[in-house]
Amino acid sequence: MIPLHWFLIVAAALFCIGLYGVLSRRNAVGILMGIELMLNAVNVNLVAFWRYLDPLESLGQVFVLFVLAVAAAEAAVGLALIIAIYRNRDTIIVEDIDLMKW
C-alpha cells in the first residue's frame, strides 16, 4: 500500500505551486487558476486522510464534495467579476485595477 506521507507531500507541493501562482501572476485569470490548484491540494489531503484514518465513515468525502461545490461557485463569480472589470477598465492586470487603493 502507498504510504500516507506520499499523498501529503504531493498535496503540499500542489498547494505551494498554487500559492506561487497566486502571488506572482499579474493576470487575474492566472490568480484564479492558482486558487483552483490550492483547493485541489486540500481535496487530495482530505481524501487521503479519509482513506487512511477513517475509511468506514463518509465524513471525508462529504467534506470534499462541499469544497468542490464552493470552488465551482467561487470560479463562476470570480470569472464574472473579471469579465465585468475588463468591460469597464479594459484590463485584467491586477496592478492596474487600483480604484480603491489610496
Binding site: L8, N40, V77
Partner: protein, 164 residues
C-alpha cells in the same frame, strides 16, 4: 510495486502540469495545463479508492471550471497575448515563500505519527455516502444548494451587459 509506479505517474503528471500552469508565458496554455493537472489529481483519487470523487472531479473541474476559465481568457484575450509580461515584481519573494512553506510542510508531515488504520473501504460505501448526505449532513447539503443558486444568479447579474 505497480501501485507505487502508478502513483508516481499521476503525481508527476499533476505536479509537473501545475508547475507549467504557474510558469507558462501564454495564459491560454496555462489553462490547458491546468486540465492535465486536474486529471492527474483525479487519478490520485482513483488510487485512494474514491472513484465517485474522481468522476466528480473530472465532471466539475475538467468539464466545467476549466471551460469557464478558457472562456474568460478568450473574452479578455486582446490585452494578454504572449508578449505581455506575466510575472509581477514580487515573483522572486513569492518563490522563496512557496519553497519555504513546502519545506516546512514536508518536515512537519514527516514528524507526525498518523494513526493509520488498515481496513478496506466497505463495499457499499457510495450508498453510505448518499444516505449520510441526506441524513446527517442534510443542512450543509441544502445550504450548498442555496449557495450554488446565489452564485449562479450573482454571476449572471455581474457579467451581464447593462442596457438602458
Amino acid at each position: 510495486m505497480v501501485l507505487q509506479a502508478v502513483f508516481m505517474l499521476f503525481s508527476a503528471m499533476a505536479v509537473g502540469a501545475a508547475l507549467a500552469v504557474v510558469t507558462n508565458k501564454n495564459i491560454f496554455h496555462s489553462a490547458l495545463f491546468l486540465v492535465v493537472a486536474l486529471l492527474g489529481v483525479a487519478g490520485l483519487y482513483v488510487l485512494l479508492e474514491a472513484p465517485f470523487i474522481a468522476v466528480v472531479q473530472v465532471l466539475i473541474y475538467v468539464g466545467a471550471i476549466s471551460t469557464l476559465i478558457l472562456f474568460a481568457i478568450m473574452l479578455t484575450r486582446r490585452l494578454m497575448d504572449a508578449s505581455e509580461r506575466q510575472r509581477n515584481e514580487q515573483w522572486f519573494i513569492s518563490a522563496i515563500v512557496a519553497v519555504g512553506l513546502f519545506i516546512v510542510l514536508v518536515l512537519s508531515v514527516g514528524q507526525v505519527h498518523w494513526p493509520v488504520v488498515h481496513t478496506d473501504v466497505p463495499e457499499n460505501h457510495l450508498n453510505r455516502l448518499g444516505q449520510d448526505l441526506m441524513e446527517h449532513y442534510v443542512l450543509p447539503f441544502e445550504v450548498t444548494a442555496v449557495l450554488l443558486l446565489a452564485a449562479l444568479v450573482g454571476a449572471i447579474v455581474i457579467a451581464r451587459e447593462r442596457t438602458r
